[in-house]
Symmetry: D2
Subunit: 142 residues, 4 copies
């Protein structure tokens, strides 16, 4: 895939990480390429269930941010996107010290982009798949 | 619908509100009946997007909690549930001072329950529909 | 809800029933109102599973047609819609002589409309809920 | 992935192709491996929209069959599965002489398996992605 905006990585990082809800989660970006991003979310107590695992809707939030950010890497400068639809399948309990969310664009359109996200819990350094998700974004010129 | 556990309202309130991720969001329950609940989420800055609206994945979290809690009202004592799947459709920007999430059971099964959730943003006291969602829960005897 | 096209019922019936895939299923419309439709699908052997129940993806097709048709009732004359996304939850085996699919608009937008569909199997004259679904349609001026 | 049933390919082919709804569609299986299958669906007029493209809910049916069949390859002998949930994202019009649906297991569980399916329209021999989908199957010992 090819990025329309040469500054796509900085643009995505800036727009996502300045969002209060994202700041609150406290994730960072790993690798960012055209059409794909990696989000790294450390475990913090307020993101967990009773048993200390990552809570389901936090996983959904990470899937949404990863898919939406991947979609964002392909936007022209001056465009933003917003989620209109996401489906999250929780495959296993998300036990571990962090979750890595990998988003990738499935199909980029002018006004709508579909992305997928897979989330891996990292427990003792070992990754296991815990969520798969699909996200649809609306693209808007600001 | 009929509740198997006469203490269903207390049970759901206790299990949901003691979850760290729910505590962090800071919502309260409104009406709780057999197969339906109302969740009231005040706006706080860390739940918002750049423009001050509720952020999309926070809406997804509220849908998940509302659907899951509605499903929880029908569980026998000593059972819990966990989300295995949710689909969130964001219909409009969630502008306002609070969001009310109304969850209701669509079909209760022994091991799986499907619920729906509709979210309303309350802006200047006026409600408007902003999200519709479907949630599937797995039911487990603890 | 209010229909923009006074001939909405005729328009929806005409555009849907002239579609080869719909003709093949062989359903008819029941009640059609602004933002809601009823589709009646008699059982035929080629729509079933091994056990003679309606097959799952046939139910998905009926949900898609019911949601999309409901959305279509609100389109201005000269517009059409097409499904871009649907989520189908199969709640129970669809046993019976027919399935009634009831579609209703959840939120009508200019370029995108979200609808819901609930399907009821009719067995010995008695209805039971077998599917709930959400459908997103793209609206296009032709 | 590893198949529990050494006769998995024959088992899946037999159970799927003997289903009346599948017979009616008239697809064949291409490659079948543990956790993945390929379904090849020739265009026939009764599977199309007005413009001659594959109709959306037919694409959904192929996604469902491909995901469910992929999941089926990992079942022990004497087990079957049935769809409980599927989400279909239609990415582009499905124009062409056939559609190839590739299903793969995302996560196999004892009672529930999640699979993904990607559909490609083949037009003049050239493949293009037209649908991505997620399917959840319930596994049952017969």
């Amino acid at each position: 895939m090819e990025a329309a905006n040469p500054e796509y990585a900085e643009a995505v990082r800036a727009v996502v990480l300045s969002m209060p809800a994202a700041k609150h989660l406290g994730f960072t970006f790993g690798r960012i390429g055209p059409g794909e991003v990696e989000i790294v979310q450390p475990r913090r107590p307020e993101l967990t269930e009773h048993n200390g695992f990552f809570q389901g809707s936090i996983l959904g939030a990470l899937a949404d941010f990863a898919g939406g950010s991947a979609a964002g890497t392909l936007l022209p400068a001056g465009w933003v996107n917003m989620t209109i639809d996401y489906t999250v399948k929780i495959l296993a309990p998300a036990k571990g010290e962090q979750v890595i969310a990998r988003g990738r664009v499935v199909k980029a359109g002018r006004t709508t982009t579909v992305a997928a996200a897979d989330l891996y819990a990292v427990d003792g350094g070992e990754e296991s798949l815990v969520v798969t998700a699909l996200v649809t974004m609306r693209n808007l010129k600001v």
